[in-house]
Symmetry: C2
Subunit: 156 residues, 2 copies
């Protein structure tokens, strides 16, 4: 668990990078055999993107790995991954996803589990506070992002 | 159905653009109220990407739409969308996905349907032949792409 928190701290550093760029503070790192091989953060605002969530940016930064590498990876993300990012983890058969918090939003964690992915929720206050502070200070931006995705996603 | 084939022809044009760039011939268009508002194609090889499938590239090209716009869109794609691209469609609550073919690979179409997305399979020979020809001519590249995702995805 200490190892998980260590890597989540790196995902938090990524979230803070986004904040400095004027973006939403959500970050991710991809870890293989205890080494960080990819890192990224939410770039929706700063890149005017609809696909660069933290997890997607992180996976893109890791480059085109072999299947046998993805299958040894753990994806750390400060916020519970949405359907798109969960789908990306499932596509590449990443066997473990470690989540900083899922109080702000919760993605399809059960879908991940149903498909053999180990999902660990660290419930780290720091992840939650970082995003919560952002939402409090930027309520209109956050509301606009929620409107864009039609509110929360509750997958069947 | 004629309308669907008309827009799928545009997705096929995108697939052919990819082929010209040395990429995998899969393409997509996003249509709102009978107008194409986004187009894209698979860029895994030409951009050394792991996230730019045709559908993702197409959605990125459409820009940051409002939720009420996404909710009136149809996503046309020459190949049945994978878990990542299906997840993106679910994230943005796109209500309809039209598929050129699902003989080469089949994504989680049932997951889309279970979540209220209308899925229409056109079973267009042209989509299948375009990709099938590519695979026949580039078997090692295709095998390498399949290895990267651990073979086909059979979601639960």
């Amino acid at each position: 668990m200490v190892e998980h928190q260590k890597f989540m701290k790196e995902a938090i550093k990524e979230a803070k990078k986004s904040l400095k760029e004027g973006g939403i503070p959500i970050g991710a790192v991809l870890v293989e055999n205890n080494h960080i091989i990819g890192r990224g953060h939410n770039r929706l605002l700063q890149n005017q993107s609809v696909i660069l969530h933290g997890e997607m940016d992180c996976m893109e930064s890791a480059g085109r790995l072999r299947g046998e590498d993805y299958q040894q990876c753990t994806l750390y993300t400060t916020l519970s991954p949405c359907t798109m990012c969960s789908g990306a983890a499932l596509l590449y058969k990443i066997p473990r996803v470690v989540i900083g918090e899922n109080k702000t939003l919760s993605g399809p964690e059960q879908l991940l589990r149903d498909n053999g992915v180990e999902v660990i929720d660290l419930e780290m206050e720091e992840c939650w506070e970082l995003l919560e502070d952002y939402i409090r200070e930027n309520p209109e931006t956050w509301e606009s992002e929620l409107e864009r995705v039609g509110g929360e996603t509750n997958l069947k």
